[in-house]
Every structure is written in structure tokens, then in C-alpha cells.
Symmetry: C2
Subunit: 726 residues, 2 copies
């Protein structure tokens, strides 16, 4: 605990602070101002601010009594207001035009009159109600932006105005957060980060060390909560944010805004260096977890259209550039964002963009493993990647911890992106953010009822139950367990993970192999399910695309259609077709974009196959209609071994189709002690994938001899094609 | 009849022809050759040819005995071969490298051995079987390209080789076309155009005036069939091609290739001037009938991914540039195609692109009316357009003739595109072109069974029957009838058309109004159905998007789902939800791309409403899963009056939603004699649309007085908003 040192710093802050300080110092903004006309992207970003703000200059701004849920008038008005306060404050510093400061003053004085009168919002439904908005999270957003905006114009205000605003606009909100909502404020959770950032930034803006202390160390001041605890606990040592890629984007913003403010106010804290630059790592973890089009990978709750051009990442990247220096990957992202922060970092990015030629159109994606948990010991999310540029293939595998309240019951779920298309999907979340007609813009009931359930993912469902009984509390106790993860050889990358606690008495283990054969790329998926008792196991593949061919006959629903099940998400699935197969290689080819994909699955003994589509029991049309292909097996111990093969191409403009037939011709699965070997025939040649089920020492050698296959290798796995190690 | 003159020309051709001639003359190709290195786009186009052909140089090319359907090996091999013959022939002239000529010679000699042995293709299923391919159409493609390729290398071949090829490779195909397939050859149809182009080009290439004569005037030489009759009858005077936009692209190619060959061989024919440059008009009609992304509008059979960058239009545009001169619209299209023909026209386009700055990213789309029928008296297809650039709205309305064998039963169908998105769709056709696993790449059974049926469109279905009993022969007798069409005022454009013969004893009349109000664009749709007997009337809106809100309660299918009907396309529709409504304004809002759309419909008395989705009775997953919103009314005379309103915006990245609530608040429909007035309340103001049901004289004045509304106007319609004429 560094409390004594910090206390001293806080004191010195209170005595010496000059404003502006929280968002940027005067000298920084003066330097930015001089560069605006020099770089088009900086000029455009400045113009965007002016276009947003100038129509309000000299106008009376409505600060309505809070009434509406997300998407409604008062909600949108208050959102616009806090952004206006911040943007006008910044423009005041960049232009010197006093009208901007007057605008900020006018709005904040209205809040100073309003806020002391507020109780819980009439539309509040959550356990953390807001005053100005339906949920406290939005109030925290308000505090962050109004705090920065106030700080930016503070020197232009009279002492009386300052007092009115500080006691009328800010104090009621800070008191509300740290009093009535104390438990929420002290949460280690993205809402808590916003709350601490809000209170801390207001503390810096109003020279109130008590606020800053609560923000850094929690209301009790013991450091068990507050911003530093959040940085320590919400990211893994690799910078992974446990709620997932969609939320790291959102969480990064208060982390970066408050860290930036702290760095200005308390440089001695060296906040950007904290935990080996974990804030830098967190930013890059967010960017690595995107598709080539910049959209975030849909693990856990995720809005699929959201991408890295969102405002949060514009701000974060400009701050990171100043804090950590030049970074080519960030430059690519900034060029797609096509705007920069109006800060030293943003101006530097604008300058770098103006002199950088042949900038890569893609962020530098790599195969990467992100440990989860504050100590990095709660499983991981691993991305295996092959190919380059447009031709990139990404396999994402989740065997991390649950992901707090935005987590899904999806241990050992994998997703597949190829050539920018989502080939095996995760539904993401059921929500229309800020569309008032859709449940006030909040998470829809179908989010819990369907999108978070195991059947909505690409992992085994036991007895039509979700993992951990669908209970967040239970799921939060157990992360996945990595057996091995290796991606040093681009031609053969592998990860094997287990989850023994998702279902009582059932052990799940899945090995995924991304292999580059000559002229063909494929994923070998060895999913081993073990139990002392008999169960029903369903393995869904949430394919995206149009069915082209199956190797098996099936019976389609023609004039009536039923649901696949009755609960745990199954009630949302229409059963479009089903098949009963026995001792076969079940192959299913679909077309997505211009590429064919085939899932080839070994069926030993018997299996049922289903084609389903979401939309049943969806009386408000809240779900997209998405297809799934489900393999069902019953018994105690069962293997699901499948190959997802990327093959051929189709071009509708030239009407040319090639390679539409899969190369996989047979699959066998063999075991010898703790070793598993998949023997495949691909394009007439033998492919062997050897797996050491327990991983073992990196350099240990293994000898497999069973079912007529002899194979020796060192390390946790091997892949041999046509007699040659890949 | 100009037969005597032509006979003389043919004679002179036989006596004096120098080759190459059919695709281009030697001097033209020499000039192109000199410019290749000068323009990147020309160089790239040349390189593309070389990359296609060079790997085959010196190789033995497989000319297999025909066996496979479309997409199969022999099909694709023969397709590649004819393109190789043409491309190598062209490269021989551009480079002077004799190896290209040798390649052409080798392939054609193999065909000279093969073709005399061929009977009907083993996979032939159509009434016009091919020899080399499953259908004669592909054989005609072969004849066109091999004819041009042969012509290009002819001077390099020995007399013996020439004879072998002419009698072995070409004569059996020409004899087959003009003998066994004479009826097909003489059809006025796109297959016939290819057949005539093939025989004609071979005639020019082999100095055989008899072939050219058959190609120009039909096998009987009487001009009732053949190429000139095809030009005269397949296009309307406006250049509209009756099969629709997808097929004009395809049909244009043989028209342009053969016209170009004729222009070289018989310039006196002035073929490009024929019928007031109808070939130029036809090309532009194809381009005007595209979405802003270049995809063709889906009237009649249509593959939705197909766009104007297809090879057919690259060739046609290069030929048109030479024939008709510079055209900025074509330049935009050429820049999207990013390649040009290796001809004088292509080189000129490359030169123009290199010097043109600020080229519009969009073809110059306008509101336009295309009459159908050789005489222009068989109805029309009209496009009303508002807005510019990305913000373009296009309403397409079909009241033309059926469209031959590729026509759909969709009289008075309309489609709506907005901001590049398909908002109210036409399914297009059910086909995976050249994907062998999908019915050999041919039209799927679901094309006739669903895609062509009336219920798959946005027009009234009577008694769950398709128009004209779903019989092409009956449909071909009756086109729609235009009452008026006016688009001189961009703020208020209108078209009214009728169809009295689609259903016995039922008259259909639909007026469509594309209106630009201040800040709001909408379509008013007044569909009047009249009959002496009681019927059931269904008006579907094939909306694309996600349901956001309805003003009416409905009952959704939750645990089981049934089809909407049993035949005429209804058997493919799952009934996702239904509602019974009475005396109300039924409003349904959906989100597509970043825009909200609301269909507001007046219900007087009662109506049933359905939400359906395709996919029932589709055992091979041949159909896309597409939604529809259907309004059902029963009675004798019924009006469907709806407003399709474009409003608001949603941005998932910024999470901002605005204008999500429609502006239309009420609708009334009033009649006074032959006048109809729709009285609407939009954004609190009155909108009146007055329609003269019989059109009347352009300058006639009308006085309406009924239901408390008094309105006077001149001309066939008026639109008044907030007391002002739009």
C-alpha cells in the first residue's frame, strides 16, 4: 500500500492545481490549436466538434426533468448535454472564444439547480438506478464529461459560479454515488470504473482531494476498491478484460480518461506504467480481438455492428499515443477512424498519418493468447490465425472465466472468421442499444433466455441444460483449464483446454487445430466428453451461410414446424430438419461470401443431426433468424471429432464456382493411453493429428501405436500430412 | 425488306474479306498494342488476359467428351476452352507471338475431331439440348468465342487447317443449330441472339455469306427471325429488354459482339444506328436499372449478387465507346469495372480515365420510364428516383409485359431501394448459377414454384392464385396499362397503372407517389381492386429488415408453426405471426441498414395481417429465409392505401437513434367521381394526394369535393402538404 505517498500528492494537488488539468493542460491545448490547420484529419475533427457545438451557441439549452428511458427525449437530451459541456469546454480552450465558456456555464448552472432535486429516475429498473438517467452508469458518464468540461472552463468562471456548480451540479451526484450507491461505486466492474472516473475527474476539476482519494481507493480508502483496484483486478496481466471484447472497448474509455487526468494531476503516480503498462496491453487486446473489418469478436454480450471506429477508441488511441509513443497498429486504426482526439496525442497521430506511406489497411493481427483473471490463472481466450490481409482466418476459443454479468455460458466455445466473414458465429447479445421501442434500448429478455445460454454457442450442451445450470454465480467459480497452447508454427497451431465443472460429473475437453495444408486450410476439432453416467450431448455449429450439400439424407419440416426443446434456449429453435445417421462421415457444405465451408464429422455408432433456426417463442421478433447445425450423441463417453474445412470459391459476378467439393474423405479417431490420434484422408493423402491429452512437458516425446497407426512426436501435439510434419 | 442490297454486300464480303475482322481489324489491334503500356487499366486488362492464357502455352489442352452438367468438369473445361481460344487469338494479334496462334490451332483441331461425333449432351434436359454443353445456349457461347478466336488467327493457319476447322469444328455446330434446332435458332429470345451471333460471327470468320445471311434474317432468309428481327423485337423503342435488367446484361453481349463484327464486315449496314441507336439505349437501360452498388434490379429472374462489373458489360461498354463516342456515365461504370476491352474503345476509355478528374462515383441515375414491347405499347417499367449519391431512393414499378420465359407473375409489383439498401424486395430467382450441387447450377424447382409466383412480390394476390393462373402463355397476352406517369417535379413524382386481365373479373389499379416533404421522404401507395364478386385479396410487402414496432397486437407462432397456404407459392411461407385488425391505421416499423421504415396502412372495416417467412416445403434448403408482411382483405371492391415512410437513422457504432417514430398519423381515402384523394396527417400537418383515376388530358383541371375535403388541381395528380403544392 502506497497510501502515505499518495496522501501527500493529493495535498500538493489541492494547493497548486492550475486549470485546465483533467483533460489537458493549457499549454498542450495551445500547441494543438496551432497545428489544427496543418493536418486535414485534425482540422476535420475540430470541425466536427464545432459543427456539434456551434448551433447551440447563444441558445438556451434544455435541461429537462428526467423522465424517459434510453432512446427517449430526456435521455438523449441529457446525453447530448454532457457531450456539449465537454466539447464546448474544449473549444473554448482551442479558440479562446468566450461564448463556448458561457455555453458550458449556462448548462452547468441549470444542472446545479436540477440535481439537488433529483431522486431515483422514474424509469429505473436496475439495482443501480440513476438520477439523471434510468441507470447510474449514465449518470457516471455525465459526471466524467461534465467534470472535464467544467475543468476546461473553470478559470473563466466567477468564484460564485464555481461554488454553485460544485455544490449544486456535482456534489449531489458524488454524494449519491458514494452514499446511496456506495456498494455499486465500490464494485470491481466497468460501471464502477465509470463511477470512480467521474468522481475522480470531478475531484481534480474541483480541487477536492477527498473525491480523488475515494476514486482511487474506494469510499473506505483502503484500496480494496477504487480505480487502482480496478486496474489490478479487471485486467489480466496480458490486458484481457474479463467481460470480453465488446466491453473492453467501453471500459477502456473511463480507464484512459481518468488515467490521463491523473497523469496530468499526479504524474508521480505513473499510472500508465502501472502493472507493466497494463492499460497499453488492454487497448491492444481490444484491437486484437476484432475482425478485419474492425468489429469486435462476439464473445459474451456483444453488439455485432460495433467496431473500433467508436468514439471510445478514438479517445483512447489519442491518449495512448501520448502516453506510450508511436505505434503503427494504432495508426492504421486511427486512419479507419478518420478522426483524432483534439489533444497532443491526436495532433501527433495526424502528423504521423500525413507522413506515413503504404500504411497497412489492417491492424497487425497475430495469433495470440490472453490469460484471464487478475493473476492470469483463470483460463484464457486464444486466437489462432492463419493467412494475411483479406485472406486472414481467425479461430477464437474461449476457456476463460465467465465474464461477470455480461458473460455467456460458453466454456470451450469457438468462433471462426474467414476473409472478413463470420463463418461460425456466436449470436452476440439480444439488444437494440438505444432503440426505445425495443425494451427501452436495454438488454432484451431474450438475451438471458437465449443469447447467453449454452445452446446459442459452439460447444457441447449436456442434457439440454446450460453450463453451470445457467447460474452466473456458479459459473463465476470455475474458469476453463488450458492443457496446452502452441502457435509458434504457422502451419500447425493448436490449443487444448478442459472444463470439468460446467456439468456435474461430466468432463469436457476440446482440442482445436488450425492447419495449413498445401492449398487447403482447415480446423480439426477433437471434443472429448467423459462421464460416469449416460447423458445426451449436443454439439451445435452456428454456421452462417446457405446450405449447399449434405452427405446424409434428412427429413425437413415441410408443412408444420416444432421447437427443438422447451427451455434453456432450446425453446427459441425451430427444428427445420433432422437426420438419423449411423457409422458414417457426416458432411455438410455451406456457402458464405465467396467461399465454401464443409463440416465433416465422424459418427461412430449413431447420432442425430438437426438443422435449426432461431425465432420460435419470440413474440416480439427480438431475435435475428440464425441457423444452426447440431450433432446429438448419447452415452457416457463420447467424442465429437469434426473438421471445418475452408475450400473453393464462388463469384456471382463471374458466375464461376471452383473447389466446391470438400477434400476430407475419411476420419478415424484412435487412442493409446493418454494419446489421441485423428487419422484423416484429405485429398487422397493421410493427415495425422496427434494429441497428448495431458499436454505434458514441452519437450517430452510420445509414441503412439494403435489401430494400425504408429506415430512418434515430441511436445504436446503433432500434425503430419502426406508423411511430412507440418 | 433490304434483301437485294444485303445480298450484294455479302457477296463483296466473301470476295474481299481480310482477317482478322470479326472482333477487330489488324490496324485497330496494332494501335491498341502501342497504347498498352501507356495506361495502367489497359495494361492490367492485358495482363489479366496473359495470366489466363500463358499457363496453357505449349500445353496439350483437354477437350473432353461432354459428360457433366453446369459446374461439372467437362462443362467448365469447355467454357474455359472457348475463352482461351478467343483470348489467345487476341493476344496473338497484340503481341505477334506465334505460340498463341498455335494454342488456338491446337484446341480448334481437337474440336474439329470431336464435334462431328457429338449427339445431344447426356445431361440435356431442356427443349434446346446442346452438343458440347447440356444446353444449346452454351454451345452458342462456344460458337461466338471460338468464331472470334479463329478469325483472329486465321491468317496464321494453313489452308488445310482452315478447312479442317471450318468443316469439323464449326459446320457441325452451325448445321445442328440451323437444322435440328432450327425452331430454337429462329426464336426471338436471348438464346436466339446468341445462336445468330455465333453463326454470324463464324460466317464472317470463314467468309461464308450463307451463314451470315441466316444469322441476319433467319434460316428461311425472310427476316421474320434472325438478328435484325431480334433487335427490332426484343427491345422496346426506349431500349428496354423485355426479360428484365438481369437478362439485358446477358443479352447485350451477343448483340454488341455481333453488331461490332457486322460493323467491321459490313459497315454499310450501319447496325449501331439501327432503330435510332436502340443498342445504345439498351446498354443504358441496363445501367439505369441498377442499384447504386451496381447490382441489377430484381424484376423477373435475377441473381442478386450480379452487378455491372460483369464481363458482358466490360465488352459492351468498350464497343459502345467506339460506336457512340465518349459518355461520362460509361466512364464511371468502367472505373468500377477496373478493366477495359482490348480494343480501340477500351484504349480510349483507358485514356479518358487517365485524364478525368472528380469522376462521379455513381452512374447518372435519373427517374426514367421504359416502355415495353417492340412498339413500346406493352406497358412499361418506371423508376422514380429522389435524392442524390448515397442518399438516392429508387422506386421501381413493373406494369410491362410478362418477360418471356424469365418473367414473373408480378404485374403492378413495386420495389424500393434506399441508400443502397433493398428495402422492399423482389426475391429474384431461386438459382445458384453454376454450383453443381444445387440442381446442376440450373434454375431450381423453387424458381417456378415460388420465386415467379405472385405472392413472392409486392402486388395483390387474388384468392391465393397467381396472376394469369401462373401460365406464361396467358400472361404473355396482356401487359399492364399506364394511366399516367409524371416525374418532372422532383418533389412529387407519380405513376398510375392498371391491369385488368391478371385475374378474371378483377381490375387492379395502383398509383404510386414518391413525395419529398420537408425533412421526410415517403411513398404513397393507392391500390384499388375492383370486382363484381367477392374475393380474398392479399397485398404483401417483402420488407428487408428487423421488426422494431407495430401499432397493432398480433399473435406469434411460438411452439409450432404452419404454412400460410398450400399452393401457388403460399406453401413456402411459414406463418410467423398474424393479427386481426379493424378500423385502424396499422403501422409496422422495421430497421434496415441505418434507417427506419414504416408501412402505415389504412384498415377500413377489417383486415388480417401476417408476418411470414420463406422456408416451408423447402426440403433442400434452396430458398433464402426472407420475411414478408401481408395485408389481407376480403370483399368485392377493396382499397389498399399505404404509406411507406423513410425516417430517422440508427448508428450501431455511435449507438445513436433518432427519428425512430413515423410521421404518418392518420390516413383517409376519399372519392368523388373519377377522382381519388388520400388525406393524410404527417408530422401534424395535412398531406393531400389527389389522383385522376383515368388520367385525363395533361392540362385538364379537376375539382374534388367530398368528405370535407375540397381540392382543385390540373393534370393527372397533385400533392399538397401543409397547404402548399409540392
Amino acid at each position: 500500500m502506497r497510501l502515505p505517498t499518495i496522501a501527500l500528492l493529493l495535498c500538493s494537488l489541492a494547493c497548486t492545481a492550475q486549470h485546465p488539468l483533467a483533460f489537458a493542460k493549457k499549454s498542450e491545448l495551445q500547441a494543438v490549436s496551432r497545428q489544427i490547420a496543418r493536418y486535414p484529419i485534425l482540422q476535420n475533427s475540430f470541425n466536427d466538434f464545432k459543427q456539434s457545438v456551434d448551433p447551440y451557441l447563444g441558445k438556451d439549452i434544455d435541461v429537462p426533468f428526467p423522465k424517459d428511458p434510453a432512446g427517449g427525449y430526456t435521455h438523449e437530451r441529457h446525453k447530448s448535454n454532457y457531450m456539449l459541456v465537454f466539447q464546448a469546454g474544449l473549444l473554448y480552450n482551442l479558440t479562446g472564444d468566450a461564448r463556448y465558456a458561457q455555453l458550458v456555464r449556462g448548462i452547468l448552472l441549470k444542472y446545479a439547480a436540477l440535481n439537488p432535486t433529483l431522486k431515483n429516475h422514474p424509469q429505473a429498473t436496475s439495482s443501480s438506478p440513476g438520477h439523471i438517467f434510468w441507470q447510474a452508469l449514465n449518470d457516471a458518464n455525465w459526471l466524467v464529461y461534465c467534470g472535464m468540461g467544467y475543468d476546461l472552463v473553470q478559470p473563466a468562471l466567477s468564484a460564485a459560479d464555481r461554488k454553485t456548480i460544485e455544490t449544486g451540479a456535482f456534489k449531489p451526484e458524488v454524494d449519491f454515488f458514494t452514499g446511496q450507491l456506495e456498494g455499486w461505486f465500490n464494485l470491481i466492474h466497468n460501471h464502477g470504473v465509470w463511477a470512480c472516473a467521474g468522481v475522480g475527474i470531478v475531484g481534480i476539476a474541483t480541487d477536492n482531494p477527498a473525491y480523488v482519494k475515494m476514486a482511487l481507493y474506494g469510499t473506505k480508502g483502503d484500496g480494496r476498491s477504487g480505480f487502482l483496484a480496478q486496474i489490478d483486478q479487471l485486467f489480466s496481466p496480458d490486458g484481457y478484460y474479463t467481460e470480453g471484447p465488446y466491453y473492453v472497448r467501453y471500459a477502456l474509455l473511463p480507464f484512459y480518461l481518468f488515467a490521463n487526468a491523473l497523469n496530468n494531476a499526479q504524474p508521480g503516480l505513473r499510472i500508465f506504467e502501472h502493472r507493466n503498462q497494463v492499460l497499453r496491453k488492454a487497448l491492444h487486446s481490444g484491437l486484437q480481438q476484432t475482425n478485419t473489418d474492425g468489429t469486435f469478436f462476439p464473445f459474451n454480450d456483444d453488439i455485432k455492428d460495433k467496431d473500433f471506429t467508436s468514439n471510445e477508441l478514438v479517445s483512447a488511441i489519442s491518449i495512448a499515443w501520448k502516453a506510450y509513443g508511436r505505434d503503427t497498429g494504432l495508426l492504421t486504426v486511427a486512419s479507419k477512424q478518420n478522426r483524432v482526439g483534439l489533444t497532443e496525442g491526436g495532433a501527433a497521430i495526424a502528423a504521423a498519418l500525413s507522413t506515413t506511406k503504404n500504411l497497412s489497411p489492417y491492424y497487425p493481427y497475430t495469433s495470440i493468447r490472453y490469460s484471464d483473471g487478475a493473476k492470469g490463472d483463470e483460463g484464457a481466450v486464444t486466437y489462432l490465425r492463419a493467412g494475411k490481409g483479406k485472406n486472414l482466418t481467425t479461430l477464437g476459443f474461449k476457456y476463460a472465466s465467465h465474464g461477470l454479468s455480461h458473460g455467456h455460458f460458453d466454456e470451450l466455445n469457438f468462433i471462426l472468421f474467414d476473409k472478413g466473414n463470420e463463418v461460425l458465429q456466436d449470436y452476440g447479445s439480444a439488444r437494440f442499444v438505444n432503440i426505445e421501442q425495443k425494451w427501452g434500448g436495454r438488454y432484451l429478455p431474450e438475451n438471458n433466455a437465449y443469447a447467453t445460454q449454452t445452446i446459442a454457442h459452439n460447444t457441447v450442451v449436456v442434457d439440454e441444460q446450460s453450463q453451470f445450470g445457467g447460474e452466473e454465480a456458479a459459473a463465476s467459480k470455475w474458469s476453463g483449464e488450458e492443457v496446452f497452447c502452441r502457435f509458434d508454427n504457422p502451419a500447425a497451431q493448436a490449443v487444448l483446454a478442459r472444463q470439468k465443472n460446467a456439468y456435474k460429473g461430466v468432463e469436457l475437453a476440446r482440442g482445436l487445430y488450425l492447419l495449413q495444408l498445401p492449398g487447403r486450410r482447415l480446423v480439426v476439432d477433437i471434443f472429448h466428453v467423459q462421464s460416469g453416467d449416460a447423458h445426451q450431448y449436443d454439439l451445435p455449429f452456428q454456421y452462417n451461410g446457405q446450405l449447399i450439400h449434405t452427405s446424409f439424407p434428412y427429413k425437413a419440416s415441410t408443412t408444420t414446424m416444432q421447437t427443438l426443446g422447451r427451455k434453456n434456449g432450446y425453446q427459441f429453435l425451430w427444428k427445420e430438419a433432422e437426420a438419423h445417421v449411423r457409422d458414417t462421415l457426416a458432411q455438410f457444405t455451406f456457402l458464405n461470401g465467396g467461399t465454401y465451408y464443409t463440416i465433416s464429422s465422424l459418427v461412430e455408432d449413431s447420432a442425430q443431426l438437426f438443422f435449426t433456426r432461431t425465432g420460435a417463442n419470440d413474440p416480439n421478433f427480438n431475435l435475428r433468424r440464425e441457423p444452426s447445425y447440431i450433432i446429438r450423441k448419447s452415452g457416457r463417453n463420447r467424442d465429437f471429432i469434426s473438421v471445418v474445412e475452408i475450400h473453393g470459391s464462388y463469384n456471382a459476378v463471374t458466375e464461376s464456382s471452383s473447389g466446391a467439393v470438400p477434400g476430407v474423405q475419411s476420419i478415424r479417431l484412435l487412442r493409446d493411453g493418454g494419446l489421441t490420434v485423428a487419422q484423416l484422408r484429405v485429398d487422397g493423402k493421410e493427415l495425422l493429428v496427434g494429441q497428448c491429452d495431458e499436454g505434458g512437458m514441452p519437450a517430452a516425446t510420445h509414441s503412439f501405436n494403435a489401430g494400425g497407426v504408429s506415430l512418434s512426436w515430441s511436445g504436446p501435439f503433432t500434425a503430419v500430412y502426406d508423411g511430412k510434419h507440418l
